[in-house]
Structure formats: structure tokens, C-alpha cells
């Protein structure tokens, strides 16, 4: 169930299974979900789709998630885009780097389905209020 009049969600994830899990998890939110398969594809897709949220994997081919995140924050069109970063690396240094690069939220894999769904709902709601 997707609608075309609400902004979509962009999922930047190279792992096909994880991308499908996220797609199915977020489908009930009623937004179309698009996938960028590598770091290079994220910015052009985000500029054209104007998503309400970017879910960003840190380990991606071509350009890693941190570089993408910094580029998003430098881009005048995208600098306010809410970004949820997903990563398999749970070290405090990673969280620090994500925060320093401008990530709004940070979650580690394996993911808790309910927690991700709630976090995404909250981020979209906050974006609408702002």
C-alpha cells in the first residue's frame, strides 16, 4: 500500500535481503519506498525523489555511508533531510562519527523490527511538525 502524494522513504542499502526486510517493514506507513544500491546513487535519487526520510547503511560500495551523510548535509536541497543510520558496527567511535557527520538517529544491526518502525514513524512525524 503506497501513495504517490506523500514523500517517499529512501533506503540506501546494498544488502538485498536487508533492503527487502526494510521495505516490508515500512510498507504499512503508506509511503513508497525506493532503494539506492550503492553510495553513489544516494544523492541523485534523494534530489529527484525529495524523500521524507533517508535510511542509510554505513557500509556500502563505491561511497561509504559517512561520506554520503556528509555530502547530504552539504547539499542545500538535502541538508534538512532526516537521516536514520543503520550499521553493524556498534562501537562508540562509530556513533560519534555518525553524529559528527550529521546523522539524526543511529541504530545497530541486527535490527529490532518494532524499534525501527517506531523510530521511523517518530522521525517522519517530527519532520512534518518541523
Amino acid at each position: 500500500m503506497t501513495t504517490t502524494d506523500t514523500p517517499p522513504i529512501l533506503v540506501a542499502e546494498d544488502d538485498a535481503t536487508m533492503a527487502k526486510v526494510l521495505r516490508e517493514l515500512l510498507r504499512p506507513l503508506g509511503r513508497s519506498i525506493h532503494r539506492a544500491q550503492d553510495g553513489d546513487a544516494v544523492l541523485p535519487m534523494a534530489r529527484s525523489l525529495k524523500p521524507s526520510l533517508l535510511i542509510l547503511d554505513l557500509n556500502m560500495p563505491k561511497r561509504n555511508g559517512l561520506e554520503v551523510l556528509r555530502a547530504v548535509r552539504r547539499d542545500p536541497q538535502l541538508r534538512d533531510l532526516p537521516v536514520l543510520v543503520l550499521t553493524g558496527q556498534g562501537q562508540p567511535e562509530t556513533a560519534d562519527r555518525v553524529r559528527a557527520a550529521g546523522g539524526d538517529e543511529f541504530m545497530t544491526k541486527p535490527i529490532d523490527l518494532d524499534a525501527v518502525r517506531e523510530r521511523v514513524k517518530g522521525m517522519i512525524r517530527d519532520a512534518v511538525v518541523a
Binding site: 538485498a16 535481503t17 536487508m18 526486510v21 510498507r27 529490532d112 523490527l113 518494532d114
Partner: protein
């Protein structure tokens, strides 16, 4: 044919050349046969992999929509098994399970048991070839659940240390305290272990069960290098409720007799970002062992603005060990305004070590305005300083 006939005549005469020629031809034939065999083996494996990937794609399309809807999973599994068979269906369920936690992960484990995947892997765990047993242990770890745990526990006695290690890894699941206890027990009794394996075990244990790792650390069952690894792994845990407990463990080891343990404790204290550690870390800047001082200099990076910290770090710029000087300078560079002021002051110092450490840190941090001019004036003042000369050359090359 003519060649063979000629060869036969020579052989009949007992000619040595003919025997050599026959040996070479035979060897060549053997090599060709082996190459052909390898080629067929690889082609067959590649085709099988390709088929499995295709089947897994179909199974993923059928099974992924059940994410978060366990009531739909049974039906989707029947459809997927009919379409692509139980192997591809099970492989996709395992892939999904390792990516999620919580109730749905447990549902997937139950379905993997019902599908017979856990029993299949359990049987594979008794195979003669160790690589098959390793693959089985990895797969069982992905399945999760009580049945898989039973097989994994039996594999902890495998003669191959890598199989035992993989089985331990499979047992370390956030939702299975019994499996974790078995994994810890096996780790402690396992004599064959590389350093990397040890660090990986503690890192994984810290991420899935920090409380159990704390228990192990305080039990007295590990000491020395093991204690250091366990403490450092705990320092990476990002669970707020764990912080006070980890702080207690690190604090108790800040004054250990073992310098390695003191250095680990000071690193962990820094990662916890607790102001309560400030005086202890400042004291560690005067530790007799250089790597404890170097660790303390880096640990101060995470603590808030404080003149005493900046002053102590500036004092370390003249430490007798270069590593301590470098760490102190890097930390000052990362502490922003006040830190940069201390480093700028050190640039005017007559102490060559302090000057070079400060200059390197400020240059790396990009915190030296009009860098070229500054380097030129410093070079004019200290022409024998090789660090200034090198940085100046680099800046001139970069500007060209």
C-alpha cells in the same frame, strides 16, 4: 599415428629418448585431464550457485512480505517450498533471521526447525570434512532456537578448533543465556586459540551479553591479557544501563599493578566520558609507563572543557616519549579553541619536541591559519628543525 608408430619402434629397441618422451606425453595427459576435471567442477559449482541464487531471489520475494506478520509466514513458506524447494526457502529464512532480533526472529527459528533445516545442518555437523562441519556450525548459528543450540553444544567438542570457534560464535546470541553460558565455558576450557579469536570472542560477548562478560571479569577466571581484552570489549558497549557497572570495573583497574591493564582501564574510562574519571586520568599522565601516559592523553579527549586538562596536556608536549607528546597534541587539537591556543603557544616554545608535536597536530587538524606564512617564519627562526622544514616543503609542493 606415424609418431606413435615411431615411438613404439624406439621403445622396442630400448631407446632412452623414447622413455623420456613417453613420460612427458603421459605427464602432459595427466595435467590436461586434471585441468579438464577442474574446469567441469568449477562450471558445475558456478551453475549450482547461480541456480540457488535465482531460487533464493524467488523465495525472498515470497517470504519478505511476511516481515512483522508472523501469521502469514506458514503460508508463504508452503508457497516458497513448492516453488523453489526447502533448501532455498531455508537459506532465505536464515538470511532474514540474522538481520533481525526480537519475536519475529524467534518465529523464524521455529519455522526453520519445522522445515527440517536445523536437523539437516545438525547431521552436516558430523561430516568427515571439517569445512562442512564449519559451514554447519555457521548455519546453525543463523537458525537460532533450542534445537540448533543442542547441535552447537555438541560441536563444542569437535577436534577442529575452527569448528569449535564457529560453534561458540553461533551460541552467542542475545536471546539465549543458556547458549552464552555454554560458549563461555567452552572458551575458558579451549587451549587452542589465536589472539584475534580471543578479541573477537570478547567483542561479540560484550555486544550480546555485557552483564555475562562483567560476571566473567569479576569471577577471577580470567587474568592478564584476557582481562585486558574483556575490559576493552566492555568499553565498546553502548548500553546506558551498563555504564555505571563498566565504570566501576575500569575504575578498579586504573591503579592495577599490571601496566597493560592500567592502559586498557584508562582507554575505557575515556570512552565512558564520565567526569568522575578526570582526576584519575590526569594522574595517569604522570604514570611511569609510557603507554599508560599515552592512553591517558587520548582519554582526555572525551572530557569537557577544563583549564586543568588543557594545562596538563600542554605539559605532556615535552614528555620524554614521542607517542605521549603526539597523543597530547592530537587531543589538544581536537579540544577546539582552548586546546588550539595551547598548541599555538607551544609553537613559540624553544623545546623542539613540544614545537614539533604542536605543529604536526595543528597542521593535521587544519587549524593553522595562513599555514605557509607561519611555517616560513618558524623555519626562519628554527632552521635546524627538520619537522618544520618537511612541513614547509610539503606545503610548498601542495601550493604548486
Amino acid at each position: 599415428m606415424k609418431l606413435l608408430a615411431a615411438l613404439q619402434t624406439l621403445l622396442e629397441r630400448g631407446d632412452a629418448f623414447a622413455w623420456v618422451a613417453v613420460a612427458i606425453i603421459g605427464l602432459f595427459g595427466l595435467v590436461m585431464l586434471s585441468a579438464l576435471g577442474l574446469f567441469f567442477h568449477h562450471t558445475r559449482s558456478a551453475l549450482r550457485r547461480q541456480t540457488l541464487r535465482k531460487r533464493m531471489g524467488t523465495a525472498t520475494d515470497l517470504l519478505a512480505p511476511t516481515v512483522g506478520h508472523p501469521e502469514r509466514l506458514s503460508e508463504a513458506m508452503v508457497q516458497s517450498t513448492r516453488a523453489v524447494g526447502p533448501r532455498a526457502t531455508a537459506a532465505v529464512l536464515r538470511e532474514m533471521r540474522v538481520r533481525i532480533t526480537g519475536d519475529f526472529a524467534r518465529t523464524l527459528s521455529r519455522h526453520l526447525e519445522e522445515l527440517g533445516e536445523v536437523d539437516r545442518l545438525g547431521q552436516l555437523g558430523t561430516a568427515r570434512r571439517s569445512w562442512l562441519r564449519r559451514a554447519a556450525a555457521r548455519g546453525l548459528g543463523e537458525c537460532g532456537g533450542d534445537l540448533a543450540r543442542g547441535y552447537l553444544v555438541s560441536m563444542l567438542k569437535d577436534p577442529d578448533p575452527e569448528v569449535r570457534r564457529t560453534a561458540r560464535g553461533g551460541l552467542l546470541s542475545r536471546e539465549d543465556p543458556v547458549g552464552i553460558a555454554h560458549a563461555i565455558e567452552s572458551y575458558l576450557s579451549d587451549a587452542v586459540m589465536h589472539k584475534g579469536w580471543k578479541a573477537a570472542f570478547y567483542a561479540r560477548l560484550a555486544s550480546v551479553a555485557p552483564a555475562e562478560l562483567r560476571g566473567l571479569l569479576t569471577s577471577g577466571k580470567i587474568s592478564g591479557f584476557e582481562e585486558k581484552l574483556a575490559l576493552e570489549a566492555l568499553g565498546d558497549v553502548q548500553v546506558p544501563s551498563e555504564v555505571p557497572h563498566i565504570a566501576e570495573l575500569a575504575g578498579a583497574r586504573l591503579r592495577s599493578k599490571d601496566p597493560e591493564l592500567r592502559a586498557s582501564a584508562v582507554r575505557v574510562a575515556g570512552r565512558l566520558r564520565l567526569e568522575q574519571f578526570r582526576p584519575l586520568i590526569l594522574e595517569d599522565l604522570r604514570d611511569p609507563v609510557w603507554f599508560v601516559r599515552a592512553g591517558a592523553a587520548r582519554a582526555l579527549e572525551t572530557l569537557g572543557a577544563d583549564a586543568s586538562v588543557d594545562e596538563a596536556l600542554a605539559g605532556c608536549l615535552t614528555d620524554k616519549d614521542w607517542w605521549v607528546r603526539a597523543n597530547a597534541a592530537k587531543t589538544l587539537a581536537r579540544r577546539g579553541g582552548a586546546g588550539h591556543a595551547r598548541l599555538n603557544a607551544a609553537l613559540e616554545s624553544d623545546d623542539v619536541y613540544a614545537r614539533d608535536a604542536a605543529l604536526s597536530a595543528l597542521t593535521s587538524a587544519g587549524a593553522l591559519p595562513s599555514l605557509g606564512e607561519r611555517l616560513k617564519s618558524l623555519h626562519a627562526r628554527y632552521p635546524d628543525d627538520v619537522v618544520i622544514a618537511a612541513l614547509l616543503r610539503r606545503s610548498e609542493v601542495a601550493s604548486v
